[in-house]
Amino acid sequence: MKRLMCVLATFAVIMLASGRLSAWQPPAAQDGFVPVEQLGNEERLPAAPLVAGAYGVAWGAILFYVWTIRRRLARIERELADVARRVPPGGR
């Protein structure tokens, strides 16, 4: 039930995001061309947080995935040991 709720929540987020993105329109182009060097600092997007974010997400996703594998493996090993005790000798 918990998993089903997670799936439904993910589906809802994707649907909402795609609706919002498709409805988004780029701002109207301005008449004059302004070289990027002449833009104020407040209009320049810093690259460092984006680069750090990209590498952070990559490493976060990998480490989280490794952790989930380790957790699942530990659970199965526990269950295997438990069931192996219940199987009579020669039953395997």
Binding site: P26, L50, G53, A54, Y55
Partner: protein, 218 residues
């Protein structure tokens, strides 16, 4: 833990430990500047995702034709890793795009086809979890279709008009950037081998557990 696994693990740790130095020392791209550094992980993850999708598709096909359960276990592992790598690609790409294109997302051929491929592998995993008896064969068919999407995703930038750079970028890369890039690709391939071995081992242990439960019922 096998000797091969240990060797690949050591190589992988060494490569990922050295990769940041190569990325930092690689020259800045003239128009994009610092944000282009995302390229080294974004493209490496994308290429590994393609490799993983192929592994999932081929293993699924072998399972469907030859009924070899070991291939099904490899397919499940590869499909799950494809989803993880796809997540990295689909998040790091928009972070780069925000600076380079001024928008987080564009519904162009490359981005949309990558998202569709990622959703196909998500559906593989959902089918596997909730499909019930016989879902292994059904999901194998989905895995084959997922792998069949890879060429479309790869060549989409050449076939349709798109804001995403074409496949010409990597072959024409400056040698000072090509070295770090190929190093990162190799590091991701090593990581992929490790993840695939570990995840397949998990599926094997799960199959052993199922067999034990069956013997308990008899």
């Amino acid at each position: 833990m096998t000797r091969l696994f240990t060797v690949v693990l050591i190589v992988c740790i060494g490569m990922f430990g050295y990769a940041p130095f190569l990325i930092v020392n690689a020259p800045y791209e003239s128009t994009m500047g610092l944000v282009q550094k995302i390229f080294y992980f974004h493209v490496a993850a994308a290429l590994t995702m393609f490799l993983s999708a192929f592994v999932a598709g081929i293993a699924s096909a072998v399972f469907l034709l030859g009924r070899r359960p070991s291939m099904d276990r490899v397919a499940v592992a590869a499909a799950e890793i494809t989803v993880v790598l796809g997540f990295i690609v689909l998040v790091s790409g928009p972070l780069w795009a925000r600076k380079a294109w001024g928008v987080w997302w564009q519904w162009d051929a490359r981005l949309t086809s990558t998202l569709v491929m990622w959703l196909v592998f998500q559906s593989y995993l959902l089918l596997r979890t909730y499909g019930g008896p016989g879902s292994d064969r059904l999901s194998s068919a989905v895995g084959i279709f997922g792998a069949a999407l890879v060429p479309f995703v790869y060549w989409s930038v050449n076939m349709w008009r798109t804001v995403h750079p074409t496949t010409n970028v990597v072959p024409t890369l400056d040698p000072s950037m090509r070295g770090p890039f190929l190093f990162c690709v190799l590091a991701f391939f090593c990581l992929y081998a490790l993840l695939l071995m570990t995840r397949t081992a998990l599926e094997t242990r799960r199959a052993e557990l199922d067999a034990l439960y069956l013997s308990l019922e008899d």
